[in-house]
Structures are given as C-alpha cells and as structure tokens.
C-alpha cells in the first residue's frame, strides 16, 4: 500500500499556509501516535482493509 502524495487540489475553503505551525513534535501528537502504535500492534489492521484499494 502506497501513501504517495498526489498533491491534488484541496477541497473548497482550504488554503495552504507554508508558515503553518509545525505540530510534528507536539507532545500531544507524539503521545497520540505512540498510543495508536500500541493499539495497532495489539489489534492489527484487518487483512481485508490492507488489501483494499480505493476506487
């Protein structure tokens, strides 16, 4: 499964801000990601969802 960005046009009402705050090191975001990793390790993604490709 690939997560390649296509850089498609955004939905109406959404504008790109190149100076937006960087949340990647935000403690809350990191904590949530860690929790999610633990959750997925414990309860793996169903195989059929991994196989499915969007239309």
């Amino acid at each position: 499964m690939s997560a390649t960005s296509k850089k498609r046009k955004h939905l109406p009402g959404i504008t790109v801000d190149p100076n937006m705050r960087d949340y990647s090191k935000d403690p809350y975001v990191l904590k949530k990601a860690e929790r999610a990793r633990e959750l997925i390790a414990k309860y793996p993604i169903p195989e059929d969802m991994l196989r499915k490709k969007p239309k």
């Binding site: 499964m1 939905l11 009402g13 959404i14 504008t15 949340y23 990793r37 993604i45 969007p54």
Partner: protein
Amino acid sequence: MVVGNEYCFYSFYSEGPKGLIEKAAIYTKMQEGLYNLAFGDWNADIQSLDDSIRTNNGDRDKVLATVAFTALDFTNQYPNTLLSFEGSTPARTRLYQMGIGNNLSEINKNFEIRGLRLQKWEPFMQGINYDAFLAQRK
C-alpha cells in the same frame, strides 16, 4: 481552514460564545499506508495541542464535521491510506462515536468505518460503544 505544506496539519477555528478557539487535526504517519488522526485545541499556556479541554463553544457538531472534512481532504492527497483515531479518554471516544453515528449516512458515502470492540475490528454500527476507529476511503 489552512493546511500545512505536507498536507498533514490542518488548522481551523471554533467560533461561538467563548470566542475563537484554535483547533487542529494532525495526521501522523504510523507505517506505510496508515496514519493516525490527532485532534485537539491549541493550548497557548502549554504551547501544545490538548483535547482534555471541554470547549463548550456551542459548535461541537460543526467542529466534528470540519474534522471529517479534513479527513476527506487528506485522503484526497494520500488516497491509499487508512486512518486510525480514538479519543484521549473514553468520554472523548464516545464523543467521536456520536459524531460518526449522527452523520453515518454522509460519512458512509466516502469512508468505510470500523470500530474496535471486544478486541476486534468490526463494521461501525450506531449505538455500539467502541474503543477506537479505523477509516478507509471508499
């Protein structure tokens, strides 16, 4: 609403009796094809996002709909991805669950939602309590 360069950070405002409250929906890559959605208020006191605050700004449904809108936009940019999300407390998770349930017919047009219940991922059904969620673009 604004989005950052890498299309992973979305920021918008809740507007209501308590004024403008900055909110953000953040998509963090967990593994190839899987991103986690974190959503919360910007807390200027601690300079961090926080979802423990009860905003009570009278626009909860609109805010949840806006988060769903970011998911739609994000999965337009990254089509082959799954999203995982849960509240930071059971009460928050219930809130997300109600938000999904109340808009299920609309959400189902674009996403398949599964909920974690009794240690298994199952198709989302209204009125059932789940511990976490997965969303996949149709």
